[in-house]
């Protein structure tokens, strides 16, 4: 068992860091593009990298959903919004976003909160290899059941609240686009 785990662990680590690099690099490229369609396509690459990260962390169900919902459906939505606005290159040059310091401060604080939360939550795993962490957490038996059981047993209220959220989004989308109906 041990040698097999170690060999798998090396592959895991390589794949993990490759996917992490892909996600970060494509996120940076996305932010530095001027053409919004190129932005969206880099975001697709970023989402695929995230899906790859989920695979290396043995969260196969999440990986599939990530590709189906984010890289598929949500990117289509983004493309539609971009085509809806239809900004030509000369329009883009004219757009100079106003620099509001307060917005920057709030965004930086939110980012700080997220980073601190993630780092403090991953404290027990500091200095461990990817394989070591996976061994610590235990093998994934069934990535769908691992999500389904807690979701339908322990997190009833958030699950039901999701449907209210989706309902609000439906009504909101209709209200925004069909004002005169």
């Amino acid at each position: 068992m041990e040698p097999i785990l170690a060999a798998a662990g090396a592959g895991h680590a390589v794949a993990f860091y490759a996917m992490a690099a892909l996600a970060v690099a494509s996120a940076v490229l996305m932010m530095t593009q001027r053409n919004p369609v190129a932005c969206v396509l880099w975001l697709v690459v970023c989402f695929v990298g995230l899906a790859g990260l989920f695979v290396t962390l043995e969260a196969y169900f999440l990986a599939v959903i990530q590709v189906l919902v984010y890289a598929g459906a949500i990117m289509v939505l983004f493309l539609f919004v971009i085509m809806l606005l239809n900004l030509r290159p000369e329009d883009l040059k004219a757009v100079a976003l106003p620099r509001i310091p307060l917005v920057g401060v709030v965004a930086a604080l939110l980012l700080l909160a997220a980073v601190v939360t993630v780092i403090s939550a991953s404290r027990p795993y500091f200095g461990m290899s990817v394989a070591g962490i996976l061994a610590e957490v235990g093998p994934t038996k069934d990535s769908v059941r691992d999500i389904g059981l807690p979701l339908f047993r322990d997190w009833l209220l958030p699950f039901e609240a999701t449907s209210i959220l989706l309902l609000a989004a439906i009504v909101g989308a209709v209200a925004l686009t069909k004002r005169k109906v």
Partner: protein
């Protein structure tokens, strides 16, 4: 059961092959192909021999956006059905069944709202 990490090796190979082929073909045509210089007509996109009618970048109707948005919302609903079906036998049927029934009922209300508002009607009926 459960998928093995190594099962994803073919996926990686497919991605590498597809990406490699794209890079190879584009690179070959860039290296081998001749550059068109000073020929504005020749540089225009090929539209079955027709003169170009309009730019490819045109404004799209908001109706497409609405359909895409509604699709995503119901897509997310369906995503929840998959783990529901998998764990159905592991939990008391009365609990999980009622739970999903409430979830679907709330979204069904949204669907009735969409139909009543005529959101999916593509053209205005006279």
């Amino acid at each position: 059961m459960g998928a093995e990490f190594n099962d994803y090796l073919p996926v990686v190979l497919t991605v590498l092959l597809a990406g490699g082929l794209a890079v190879l073909l584009l690179g070959l045509s860039a290296v081998v192909g001749k550059k068109a210089r000073g020929a504005p007509v020749r540089d225009t996109p090929y539209e079955c021999g027709m003169p170009i009618l309009s730019e490819a970048h045109t404004r799209f109707s908001v109706k497409f956006y609405l359909v895409a948005m509604l699709f995503i919302l119901f897509d997310i609903e369906v995503v929840f059905l998959y783990p529901f079906a998998v764990v159905f036998d592991d939990l008391p049927a009365s609990l999980i069944f009622v739970e999903m029934l409430v979830f679907l009922a709330i979204l069904f209300a949204g669907w009735i709202f969409i139909v009543k508002k005529g959101v999916l009607r593509w053209q205005k009926e006279e």
